[in-house]
Amino acid sequence: MKGIIPEPVGRQPWQMLVPLILLVLFGAAVLYSAGGGDFSLYASSHLIRFIALSGVAAIITLMPKQFIKLIAYPVYVLVLLLLIAVEAVGALGGGSQRWLNLGIIVLQPSELMKPALVLALARFYDALPIGMINTWRALVPAGVVIGLPMGLVLLQPDLGTALAIMFGGAVVMFLAGLPLRWFVTAGLVGTVIAPLAYFFALQPYQQRRVTTFMDPESDPLGAGYHITQSKIAIGSGGLSGKGFGEGTQSHLNYLPEPHTDFVFATMAEEWGFVGGLLVLLAFFLILRWGLQVAWSAEDRFGRLLAAGLVATIFFYIAVNLMMVMGLAPVVGIPLPFMSHGGSSMLTNMICLGMLMMVNRWNRRPSGGRLL
C-alpha cells in the first residue's frame, strides 16, 4: 500500500476524512430531500460551504505550533471584541441579535468563540507553571476567560451556545489536571443553582422549552410540538426508513426546521435506524480519531487543544441528537456536517482543521516545515 499511494496523500488522516466526506455527502442527500427534491435549495450550498471551508481547514492545518501559540490570545481577544460589537450593534439597533454583518459574510462570533476559547485555555495551561496547577492561579484567570464570552452570549440570549462554550472550557480545565474536588464542588453548586437559574435567569421561551421537554404531551400543538413531531419522524422511520424522498413528516411540514436543527429526524424518517447508526458510526470515527490525535500529541498544548476541540464537536452532536430524540430540551444547536447552516459548518471545520494541525505537529516534531 505504502508504495502505491503517494506519500503526501497517504499521510493524510483518511480514517477521519473518509467518514467526514461520506457524512457531508449523506447530509447533502438529506438536504436535497428536505428541500423537496430541489438540489439548489439547501444541498448545493451545503456542499459549496464544505468545499470552501475545507480550504480554510487545510490552511489551518499548515500553521506552525509557535505561530499558533503566538496568536492564541490575540485571536481570543479579537473574537471577544466581535462579541461585544454584536451586543453594541444589537443595543443600537434596538433589539438583540447574534449576527454581525460584515458586508461579504454574516458572522456569528459566538460560534467562533468555541474554538478560540479552547485555544486560549490550552495556551494558558501550557504556559502555567506546573506547580501552580493546584492553586487559585490555575482557576481564576481561566474562569475569567470562560466567563466573559459566556456572559456576552447569555446576553444575546443564546443559552445553547453559552453552554457549549462552557462545556469546551470546562473540559480543557478538567484535562489540564485541576484538582478533581473543584469539579465535584462546581457540580454540586450547579445542581443548586440550576433551579434558581431556571426561575430567575431563563427567558420565558426557554423556560417553556424546559417544561415541555419534561412533558411534551402537555402541549402537543404548542411548544411540545417540535419534540413530538421529531419523535414521530424518527419513530415512524422504523428499521430502514420510508425511502429516500418519501418522508411525510418533513415534506408535509409537520417537522419544524427539517433542514437545520431537525435534520437528523428528517434523515431518520427516510433512512430509518440503519441510517441513524451509520451517522452515529461516522461521528464515532471522527471523534475517536480526534482523541487519538490528543493522546499522541507530544506536548501539553497539543493535547489540551485537541481534546478540547473534540469535546466541542462532541457537545454539538450529543445535544442535537438528544434534542431530536426527546432527551434534551429544544436548544438551537445544529448537527455538525449535516445541518444546513454556515456558522456551524465554519466552527466545526475550524475545529477539524486545528485537529489536523495538531496531528501534523505530532508527525513532525520539529513543526517547522510545510507539508
Binding site: 506546573i130 506547580g131 496547577i133 493546584n134 473540559v171 478538567f174 484535562l175 489540564a176 489536571g177 484538582p179 474536588r181 413531531q229 419523535k231 414521530i232 419522524a233 424518527i234 419513530g235 415512524s236 422511520g237 422504523g238 428499521l239 411525510t248 413528516q249 408535509l252 411540514n253 409537520y254 431518520a268 424518517e269 430509518g272 435506524f273 441513524g276 447508526l277 452515529l280 461521528f283 464515532f284 471523534l287 475517536r288 482523541l291 490528543a294 493522546w295 501539553r300 493535547r303 489540551l304 481534546a307 469535546a311 462532541f314 450529543a318 441528537l321 438528544m322 430524540m325 426527546g326 432527551l327
Partner: protein, 694 residues
C-alpha cells in the same frame, strides 16, 4: 484533610500527563456511552415504538373527511319531489380552527358580496357556535366565488368550501309546516346522537315536520374522502374516495299540487286547509298559512328574516293544522245530529225555535228565529235551539262519546312532530279539570261547539270523513300499500244519507253555505259552516273589529255528496265568520275536480293580492328589512323548471298533455281521482341533480 495532603504532593510533568490520560480516557468513555445511549434511544423509538409512531405519522398525514350523504327525497303521492336536493357550491367555517375570525369573515364577505348585516349575523353565529360545530356561510355560490375562496384558503384557516347539495323545496312556504326544514345539528342533537356525521360541515338534519320525523330514513350513508394534508391543512392529493349512499325517499300521501293550491288559496289569511281521501284516509293536503320558506331556513335563516316571522301575529312558525286549536262552532252540528240518531232520535222530530230556547230558568239565544225545525233544517240553517234541546234530551256525555268516536279530542297515529288533541268536554272531564259538576248550560254551550270544546283542523277533517262514510276513517300521511278497511260506525245507509243530505242542503240547498256551491255541473259538495268566537263578544261583534278579536271562520266538507271521495276542513283564524272559509273550500274542491277552473279563480285572486304566497313572503321580507334600514339582496334566481311538478299549475299542463294525447282527462267521479293525471309508478329518485357524479 486527605485532600489537602494530596494537594501538597509534588506535581511534575508526568503527573499531569498521567492525569490527562486518565481523565481523557474517562471523557472518551463517557462520550462513547452517550453514543450508545443515543443508539439505544433511537432503536427504542424506531423499532420498539415504531408501530405507535407510524400510526401517528399516518394520522398526521391523512385527513379523513366525511362526505355528507345526499338526503333522501320527500315525494308526494304521485312520486314528485316535495323536497329534493340541488347540487351547489357551499362554504362553511369551523370556528375552532379559525385563527382570526373577524378577518376571515370580512374576506368572505367581500368575496361573496355579503351585506354588513349578513356579515354581522355570521360573526354572531360563529361566536355562538360551539367549537365542533360547522357554521354555514353560504350555499348556492357561483363557481367564480367558490374558486376565489378556494384560492385564498391559506389566509382563512377554518374555512371549508366544498361541493355539496342543498335541500330544495320547489313550492317553498306551501310545504313549510308539513315538511319542516333542515339545519346543522345543535349541540343537544349531537349529544343525543353521537354520530360524527352530525358535525360534518355541510351536513344538515331535519329540524321539524317530516324532515325531522323521517330523519333516520332520509339520512343515507356518508361517503368518505382520504386526503393527504400538510401541517397547515393544505390538501396535497386525494388518496381515496368512497361515494356516499343517498338516503331513502319517503313518499307521503300528500298531493303536491293540491297542497300548493290550498296554501296559495288561503292568500293573506291565517289559516289551514286539510283535505283527505275519505276512502283510504290519505291526507292529500295539510296546508297551513302564513308559513315560512323552508328554503331560507335550510340555507341558514338571517336574523332579520327570523325576527319578521317571530313577530308576526299570525304565527307563521306554527303548524295550524296540528297545533291550532279552535272552538269548532257549528261545524260539529252534523256530527251531533248523528249522535242524536245513534241515541234514538227520529230525524223528523221537530222543535220550534223561537229565536232561542229556555233551558232551566235561562233563555239561550239562537242566531235567528227558525220556526219549526227538524234535523235536516237544523243542520242547514244551523239552528242552535234544536241542538240545545236534543243535547239536553240525549245527555251530553252520550254526544261527547260519539264526538270522540269521530276523532275529536283524539291523537292520530301520524308521523308528525307534535299534534294537539284539544278537548271534548263531558262531565268526567269537567270534574277532573275544574272540580265542578256538569251543568245544563255546559250542555247548551257544548251542543253548538262552544264552551270548552277545542278541536284542531285535522280532527275536523277526520270528523267530516267519518260522517261522510260512516266508517272510522284513520288519517294517514305515509303512503303505504293497501290499508285494512275501516271499521263501521254502525249507522245504516239511511241515517248516513240523512246527514249527507242535510249537509248537501247546507251548500246546494237553502242552507248557510251557498257561496260554497261548486261551479261544476256534476259534482255536489256537502258541508257545514262554523263561526267560533275567539274572544268574548264584549270586544265587538266579531266582524268589524281588530283582527285578533274577530271570529274564526270554519268549514267542514266532503264531496261528491252521494259517493264521498274527499273530505276536509278549513279554518280561517279571525276570518270574521264562516264566510271567510266557504269560498276557499269551493275553490279547493273545484281545483280537485277541474284544475283549470280552480286555477282561474286562484290566478284572479293572486293578481289582487300581489303574487303567489312565495312572492308575497319575499316582498314582505324586503319591506320588513328596509323598514329596519337594511337592504336585502334579491333572492338568487332558482334554476326552476317552467312549472314544478308539485306546483298547483302542474296539473294544468298534465291535463293539457293528456288532452293532446286524446285521453280522457279527469274522471269527474270515479275511482282514479286526480292521481290518475300523473302515473304514481313514476320512478322518483333518479333526478339529474342528485345523480350528478362528483
Amino acid at each position: 484533610m486527605r485532600w489537602r495532603r494530596r494537594s501538597k504532593e509534588l506535581i511534575n510533568q508526568a503527573t499531569l500527563k498521567n492525569r490527562f490520560d486518565r481523565r481523557s480516557m474517562l471523557l472518551g468513555t463517557l462520550q462513547g456511552g452517550v453514543g450508545v445511549l443515543l443508539a439505544a434511544r433511537m432503536g427504542y423509538l424506531a423499532i420498539a415504538e415504531n408501530e405507535k409512531y407510524e400510526l401517528e405519522s399516518e394520522s398526521n398525514r391523512v385527513n379523513l373527511s366525511l362526505i355528507p350523504p345526499r338526503r333522501g327525497w320527500i315525494l308526494d303521492r304521485n312520486g314528485n319531489p316535495l323536497a329534493s336536493n340541488r347540487a351547489d357550491f357551499r362554504v362553511d367555517v369551523i370556528p375552532e380552527r379559525m385563527v382570526r375570525p373577524e378577518q376571515s369573515v370580512a374576506l368572505l364577505g367581500s368575496i361573496l358580496g355579503m351585506s354588513a348585516t349578513d356579515q354581522h349575523d355570521l360573526s354572531t353565529r360563529i361566536a355562538e357556535a360551539r367549537g365542533f360545530q360547522a357554521v354555514e356561510v353560504g350555499q348556492g355560490l357561483s363557481y367564480e366565488q367558490f374558486a376565489a375562496i378556494s384560492v385564498r384558503l391559506p389566509e382563512m384557516p377554518g374555512v371549508v368550501p366544498q361541493r355539496g347539495f342543498s335541500r330544495f323545496y320547489p313550492t317553498g312556504p306551501a310545504v313549510g309546516h308539513l315538511l319542516g326544514y333542515v339545519g346543522p345539528a345543535s349541540r343537544e342533537e349531537y349529544e343525543a346522537d353521537r354520530n360524527p356525521l352530525l358535525v360534518t360541515p355541510g351536513y344538515k338534519i331535519g329540524k321539524d315536520g317530516a324532515e325531522k320525523v323521517f330523519e333516520q330514513r332520509l339520512r343515507g350513508v356518508p361517503g368518505a374522502r382520504r386526503v393527504e394534508v400538510t401541517a397547515s391543512g393544505r390538501i396535497v392529493r386525494d388518496l381515496s374516495t368512497r361515494e356516499d349512499i343517498q338516503g331513502n325517499p319517503v313518499q307521503l300521501t300528500i298531493d303536491g299540487p293540491l297542497q300548493d293550491f290550498a296554501a296559495r288559496r288561503l292568500g293573506p289569511e291565517s289559516g289551514s286547509v286539510v283535505v283527505m281521501d275519505c276512502r283510504t284516509g290519505d291526507l292529500l293536503c295539510m296546508s297551513s298559512m302564513p308559513s315560512f320558506d323552508p328554503n331560507s331556513f335550510s340555507a341558514g335563516i338571517g336574523s332579520v328574516e327570523y325576527a319578521m316571522l317571530r313577530e308576526n301575529e299570525r304565527v307563521p312558525l306554527r303548524n295550524k293544522v296540528l297545533q291550532g286549536l279552535y272552538p269548532p262552532g257549528s261545524t260539529i252540528k252534523p256530527m251531533h245530529a248523528m249522535a242524536f240518531l245513534r241515541n234514538g232520535i227520529d230525524p223528523s222530530e221537530a222543535i220550534t225555535c223561537g229565536g232561542g230556547l229556555r233551558v232551566g230558568n235561562r233563555f239561550f239565544r239562537c242566531h235567528g228565529n227558525h220556526g219549526r225545525v227538524d234535523m235536516n233544517r237544523a243542520i242547514h240553517q244551523s239552528c242552535n235551539s234544536y241542538f240545545y234541546y236534543f243535547a239536553q234530551r240525549v245527555g251530553f256525555d252520550n254526544v261527547a262519546d260519539f264526538a270522540k268516536d269521530c276523532g275529536l279530542g283524539q291523537r292520530f297515529d301520524l308521523p308528525v312532530v307534535s299534534q294537539f288533541f284539544g278537548t271534548v268536554p263531558d262531565s268526567r272531564w269537567k270534574m277532573r279539570k275544574h272540580h265542578s259538576a256538569w251543568q245544563s248550560y255546559d250542555t247548551v254551550n257544548s251542543s253548538i261547539g262552544q264552551g270548552y270544546y277545542l278541536t284542531s283542523p285535522l280532527q275536523l277533517a277526520v270528523m267530516a270523513a267519518r260522517l261522510a262514510t260512516g266508517r272510522v276513517v284513520e288519517p294517514a300521511l305515509l303512503k303505504t300499500g293497501e290499508r285494512a278497511p275501516f271499521a263501521s260506525l254502525d249507522f245504516n245507509s239511511e241515517q248516513i244519507g240523512h246527514i249527507r243530505q242535510a249537509m248537501s242542503d247546507t251548500v246546494n240547498g237553502p242552507g248557510t253555505a251557498g257561496r260554497a256551491r261548486l261551479p261544476l255541473e256534476n259534482v255536489l259538495m256537502a258541508g257545514k259552516t262554523g263561526t267560533a268566537q275567539a274572544v268574548g263578544l264584549n270586544r265587538g261583534d266579531g266582524r268589524n273589529t281588530a283582527w285578533r278579536f274577530r271570529h274564526h271562520g270554519l268549514f267542514v266538507f266532503f264531496a261528491p255528496v252521494d259517493n264521498p271521495i274527499y273530505a276536509g276542513a278549513i279554518v280561517v283564524e279571525h276570518g270574521g265568520g264562516s264566510g271567510a272559509a266557504t269560498p276557499i273550500a269551493k275553490d279547493v274542491m273545484t281545483y280537485l275536480f277541474d284544475p283549470q277552473k280552480g286555477m282561474d279563480a286562484l290566478h284572479a285572486l293572486e293578481k289582487e293580492w300581489g303574487g303567489t304566497a312565495q312572492q308575497r313572503l319575499e316582498q314582505q321580507y324586503r319591506a320588513y328589512a328596509s323598514a329596519r334600514g337594511q337592504s336585502v339582496a334579491p333572492s338568487p334566481p332558482r334554476p326552476r323548471q317552467p312549472i314544478d311538478a308539485v306546483a298547483a299549475e302542474s296539473r294544468l299542463s298534465a291535463q293539457a298533455k293528456a288532452a293532446l294525447a286524446g285521453e280522457e282527462v279527469m274522471p269527474t267521479q270515479g275511482e282514479a281521482g286526480p292521481a290518475a293525471a300523473t302515473p304514481p309508478n313514476e320512478p322518483a329518485p333518479a333526478a339529474p341533480s342528485d345523480a350528478e357524479p362528483r
